[in-house]
């Protein structure tokens, strides 16, 4: 199958390039029976097109070569034939019916998301994916992990440039996994080619998709619906493990949740918060507000030298916008996305970096209280 595509490409004058193995030319066969079916449909319709193309263009080029005026031919005068018209209306119609039957079967199969073993809620956000293992008490956000230095060509690019995340979605082999797909802001689309799953993530809607994967491995995908500035920068990484490995991973995630609660409770120094905040800022905030805090005029406000980050009495407003977001803008609610330690750290960082020297710090326990009561404790406004 692949061979034929190469021939086609060769015809277009790309022959010399074909020797390079990493030139992906065709759709992936994927790793599920559904993706195999889809690949089969793709190749079937491709060959139908090739055969029709060969016949049609064959007649055309025959005419171009044989029936040219320079050969001294006399033009014929025929200009209609009802029989021929009927034939070339019916034959394509029958071919299409032949294609529609297997396509219908596959489509109905793909829509049958019942009787799943594992349900995972997938939520698209500008510009990250959130995964929630329903009934397991495990949920997390999955961010692009390619550093900005690579995107802006300062450093050499990783082999998985733009297709790598800080925390992949982990699933087991051999189980029917149902994805419940939605979005928190604009429309995104969750696409993993190896599964032949692509479903739009739409605010206010929950779409279903499912898969059963037999082969462990890492499978990569991307957001497939234009969703704003960083549409190109919200990949999907799927880590498919054996059932036992999956179970132990799930256990670890539960432990981790405990550890994070401990992190909130412990006492933090200013320097610890500032350093942690810098890391969080560059990972989560810098894509819009920029690493230098200058933002992008007209699109994303600057954080450097603005009243909110420099006036001491604006601390609560600052915490509010980070935790609850700002409706109708790209500033989303980070309260549910980040743990208290990260929130406290990033706010502390923003109030002291780039010459914003307020000297103020916020502790994780303060954020916890803010999340519960909507107010910071009086001691929250403390100097470093």
């Amino acid at each position: 199958m692949k061979h034929s595509v190469r021939i086609l490409a060769g015809l277009m004058g790309l022959g010399s390039a074909m020797s390079q193995a990493d030139w992906g030319l065709n759709m992936t066969r994927g790793v599920t029976s559904v993706s195999e079916d889809v690949y089969g449909l793709h190749m079937a319709i491709f060959w139908v097109c090739v055969i029709i193309g060969v016949i049609v263009f064959g007649v055309m080029f025959w005419s171009i070569i044989m029936h040219r005026k320079s050969r001294g031919v006399k033009p014929a005068t025929f200009h209609e034939s009802t029989l021929v018209e009927i034939l070339w209306t019916t034959i394509p119609f029958l071919i299409l019916v032949g294609m529609a039957i297997p396509a219908t079967k596959t489509l109905i199969h793909m829509y049958d998301a019942d009787d799943s073993d594992i349900d995972i809620k997938v939520t698209g956000h500008q510009w990250k994916w959130e995964y929630e293992y329903l009934g397991e008490g495990v949920s997390f956000f999955s961010n692009l992990s390619t550093p900005l230095e690579q995107i802006y060509n300062v450093r050499r690019k990783n082999p998985n440039y733009l297709l790598e995340v800080d925390e992949p979605l982990v699933v087991p082999t051999g189980k029917k996994i149902r994805f419940l797909i939605t979005a928190g802001d604009v429309i995104h689309s969750w696409w993993v080619p190896a599964l032949a799953v692509k479903k739009d993530a739409i605010p206010g809607f929950i779409n279903e998709a499912w898969t059963i994967i037999d082969k462990p491995g890492i499978y990569r995908g991307q957001c497939a619906e234009l969703c704003g500035r960083n549409h190109a920068f919200m990949p999907i990484v799927l880590d498919v493990r054996s059932e036992e490995d999956y179970a132990s991973w799930l256990g670890e995630k539960r432990e981790e949740a405990k550890a994070i609660r401990a992190l909130t409770a412990r006492d933090w120094s200013y320097d610890e918060l500032y350093d942690r905040g810098k890391g969080v800022y560059n990972k989560v905030c810098a894509q819009c507000h920029q690493a230098n805090g200058m933002g992008i005029p007209g699109a994303f406000p600057a954080l450097k030298g603005t009243p909110m980050t420099t006036k001491k009495d604006q601390l609560t407003a600052h915490v509010d916008i980070v935790v609850n977001g700002k409706k109708g803008t790209a500033m989303q609610a980070f309260g549910p996305q980040l743990n208290e330690a990260d929130l406290a750290a990033v706010i502390t960082y923003e109030r002291n970096a780039w010459g914003n020297n307020t000297g103020q710090m916020v502790k994780p326990v303060d954020i916890l209280q803010y999340k519960k009561t909507g107010q910071l404790p009086q001691t929250g406004d403390q100097a470093k």
Binding site: L96, Y152, H231, A232
Partner: protein, 527 residues
């Protein structure tokens, strides 16, 4: 030749006015046609320049030339300008010039409205393009403007974009009304509907499509306007609205819109192929019926643009079947063109070269369209470069090649001069190579998994993107040669005969070249 003597008489009284006001105040279909064509050509260059920015950024992985938000503005503007500024006005320009001459009418039926429908356009596009210089930038959500990215999350300039779309819609609707009125009322005696050239037929059907769907687009953007400024929630899920509703309404406009951009192209090619094959068009009647069938089907396939939004399976199946059905009448058209060539006596002047390229490359675009119709496979193709390849094959080597073919074909009639055949053939071959170099690799990119509308991509897509960019620069610069050929033809081309093409047929060739300012003041005799 009663037409010729009549025009001589009319000329003595009523030639074109002098100076700039001729163009501002003109109600002459030829003047207005020329203005449409020049306008669309400059829009083509502007949209093309934006495509060059896109291809330059995509030449290699990483962000080099522009920032993602500006990239998104470029891809949005590129789409809007090419659809509403380049392709549609070019067809209206050709319609203005040719339809009255083809049906033996003295002018368009509503000449003053004709003036207005053109003059709206420069202002609409000035308004739209000015958004690029506004705070927050221009529209950055793709030409499809999906809510809520375009409403709650859109830049402030979206309002100007909405008004610009309204103005373009008014212009298109008026143009369409004018064309229908001309065709139905001003045909010369004896010019029955089934004797009309196919270009007239395809435009008649296109004009009905325009009247049907431009108000739908106006409705969609008006709902956007209400959501943005008046607190409604048509498309806002948080307020009880439905973001998918926008897509249904948009594509109810959008799918007929893509046929609006291809049906007149069918008409042009159906005029040129018989002329250079020296043989009458095969299956005229079936061509008319096929065009009408395509137009009808275009209203019931819109959701194939939305196979991944989660439509219920029965809906998905309906739209899949209806979409596949379009291949039948489209196939009939291609078979008819090829049978027209079969046993003809062909020559290969530039209009014919562009038309032959049209047949081959448009068919390739049709094939990928058929592949996209298969809903399960579309889950893999959707929103990838495979789709980008598909619609550029039908719009660049389809619509644009047909427009260029038409320009070369009728240029002698318009200017009274022949164009430089060698230069024009160079223009063809460079365009042909550049076009394929740009868009063919995009099939591979899409199948290999590259999403569309991204300013940066994973490393495995690098090589094909470099080829596509190189091809894009070739195709883009080649169009400056087109400008040169046309200017050279206007200024110092060789004198053209009334009928410069041996096999050409139709009333437009019965008047002198250049066509006098007024033609067919007395209707011609149609046998």
């Amino acid at each position: 030749m009663s037409a010729m003597t009549d025009t001589g008489h009319a000329d003595a009284h009523h030639g074109p006015a002098k100076g700039l006001m001729r163009w501002v105040l003109t109600t002459n279909h030829k003047d207005i046609g020329s203005m449409y064509l020049w306008f669309s050509f400059f829009m083509f260059l502007a949209g093309g320049f934006m495509a060059m920015v896109i291809r330059a950024e995509l030449f290699e992985p990483g962000m080099q030339i522009v920032e993602p938000e500006f990239y998104n503005q470029m891809l949005t503007m590129h789409g809007l300008i090419m659809v509403f500024g380049a392709v549609m006005p070019a067809f209206t320009g050709l319609a203005n010039w040719m339809i009255p001459m083809m049906v033996g009418a003295p002018d368009m039926a509503l000449p003053r409205m004709n003036n207005w429908s053109f003059w709206i356009l420069p202002f609409a596009f000035a308004l739209m393009m000015s958004t690029l210089f506004m705070e927050g930038g221009g529209p950055n959500f793709g030409w499809t403007a999906y809510a809520p990215l375009s409403t709650d999350y859109g830049p402030k300039s979206t309002t100007f974009f909405i008004f610009a779309i309204h103005m373009m819609g008014i212009s298109s609707i008026m143009g369409a009304i004018n064309i229908i009125a001309t065709i139905l009322n001003l045909r010369a005696p004896g010019m029955t509907l089934m004797k009309m050239p196919l270009f007239v037929w395809t435009w008649l059907i296109t004009a009905y499509l325009l009247i049907a769907v431009m108000p739908v687009l106006a409705g969609a953007v008006t709902m956007m306007l209400m959501d943005i400024h008046f607190g409604t929630s048509f498309f806002n899920a948080g307020g009880g609205g439905d973001p998918v509703l926008y897509q249904h309404v948009f594509w109810f406009f959008g799918h007929p819109e893509v046929y609006i951009m291809i049906l007149p192209a069918f008409g042009i090619v159906s005029a040129i192929i018989p002329a250079f094959a020296r043989k009458p068009l095969f299956g005229y009647t079936s061509m008319v019926y096929a065009t009408a069938s395509i137009a009808f089907l275009s209203f019931i396939v819109w959701a194939h643009h939305m196979f991944t939004v989660g439509i219920p399976v029965t809906g998905e199946l309906f739209f899949m079947y209806a979409t596949m059905l379009i291949a039948v009448p489209t196939g009939v058209k291609v078979f008819n063109w090829i049978t027209t060539m079969f046993r003809g006596a062909m020559t290969f002047e530039t209009p014919m070269l562009f038309s032959l390229a049209f047949v081959v490359l448009f068919t390739l675009g049709g094939f990928s369209g058929l592949m996209l119709a298969i809903a399960p496979a579309d889950f893999q193709y959707h929103d990838t470069y495979f789709v980008v390849a598909h619609f550029h094959y039908v719009l660049v080597s389809g619509a644009v090649f047909a427009i260029i073919a038409g320009v070369y074909y009728w240029l002698p009639k318009w200017t009274g001069h022949m164009y430089d055949e060698t230069l024009a053939k160079t223009h063809f071959w460079l365009s042909f190579i550049g076009m394929n170099l740009t868009f063919f690799p995009m099939h591979f990119l899409g199948l290999a998994g590259m999403p569309r509308r991204i300013p940066d991509y994973a490393l495995q897509f690098t090589d094909f993107n470099m080829i596509a960019s190189a091809g894009g620069f070739l195709f883009g610069t080649t169009q400056l040669l087109f400008l040169f050929v046309v200017i050279k033809c206007v200024i110092c081309g060789k004198k053209a005969a009334a009928k410069p093409w041996e096999g050409a047929d139709g009333l437009e060739w019965s008047v002198p070249s250049p066509a006098p300012y007024h033609t067919f003041s007395t209707p011609p005799d149609v046998k």
